[in-house]
Symmetry: C2
Subunit: 203 residues, 2 copies
């Protein structure tokens, strides 16, 4: 293909971030799990501004099983939110809906165990809808509109696929990134740090 | 769309079978796990002729974890073969290659535990390449050739995608079916009994 076309293609690349199971918890819940004066410790800063993976982990307990060493994210949020893959949910015996972060009405709960206590959440468990984060400048450059859905093509060794239903989220401070859960990354044969190609909206 | 075109589309549908982690074991391995005179008991007949899911399950043990209640398939095979999803492999701490069934050279092993003993397999663990089984008549009707790769589009509630790199396997006795592992089915939002649409070869 000619140089101009190759250039245009290169500009539609999106870096891939793979989210393993994790939880964002409230200050009140963290107190019950880790003790009254506990503060989360930063393990690694995430690419999205101000967010971090914490040193702290918890155990998640459902009707059919448990998952240990589940990473907490910080800083604390107003609402408890647990993000699982469908594989995780099958292991726990939980059926959580596909949702964007923060959309927690009518979601199931589960038990969370920490070193200083345990909490039974009444809700907050979701399977994350795959989505692209983009700052306003990247969104303009790529022709992406907040709230639309696009396709993303993944080339890998033996598991090429095209994800549709990828929701675009545009906000100041967002870093350009496709967020997949582990089921999705595994099905596509890609890992954190891989690259996808954004396709025009499916119309 | 007109009736003829709708008819053509309907004919490209393929039923979906989802394979959870499972093992095909040899008679020698089964003896060590279940005792000398043990025979596998049929739990459910699979759609592929003569194959069945057995009543019997085993535990799989890797460097990082274990998976219990892993279903055995029958009848016994000449070679031990364990089919895992990448999510399973991460839980166990094993990195198995993408392979078609039976292609077991240079594959990792793991420990298998049964009620009467345990066995350390030297190899045989694979991640199954997604594939379509078709009998000769279905293959002819759908224009599928043994060994080619095709795409399959999945429509679901919020996780539409198109799998590429789907390998076509044609043999007498094969029942038309797309075989996905649990990561792939979860990423597409489909379950056993769902339906995909075969796309022309990607060229």
């Amino acid at each position: 293909m000619n140089v101009e076309r190759r250039q245009a293609r290169r500009e539609m690349k999106v870096p891939i971030a793979v989210s393993a199971r994790h939880a964002h918890l409230s200050v009140a819940t963290l107190k019950k799990l880790f003790g009254a004066d506990h503060q989360l410790h930063v393990r690694t800063w995430l690419s999205q501004t101000g967010q971090f993976a914490a040193e702290e982990t918890v155990s998640l307990v459902g009707p059919h099983g448990r998952l240990d060493h589940v990473r907490l994210m910080g800083p604390p949020r107003a609402q408890d939110q647990v993000e699982l893959s469908r594989s995780d949910e099958i292991a726990l015996g939980i059926d959580a809906p596909l949702r964007l972060s923060g959309d927690l009405a009518r979601t199931p709960g589960l038990r969370v165990e920490g070193p200083a206590g345990s909490v039974t959440l009444e809700g907050g468990v979701i399977t994350a809808l795959r989505h692209i984060h983009a700052g306003p400048e990247d969104a303009q450059r790529l022709g992406l509109r907040h709230g639309e859905t696009v396709g993303v093509r993944i080339d890998s060794a033996g598991r090429d696929l095209t994800f549709n239903d990828v929701v675009v989220r545009v906000a100041p401070g967002f870093h350009l990134e496709l967020h997949l859960d582990t089921d999705e990354a595994n099905a596509a044969g890609v890992a954190h740090g891989g690259v996808g190609e954004i396709l025009p909206a499916a119309g």
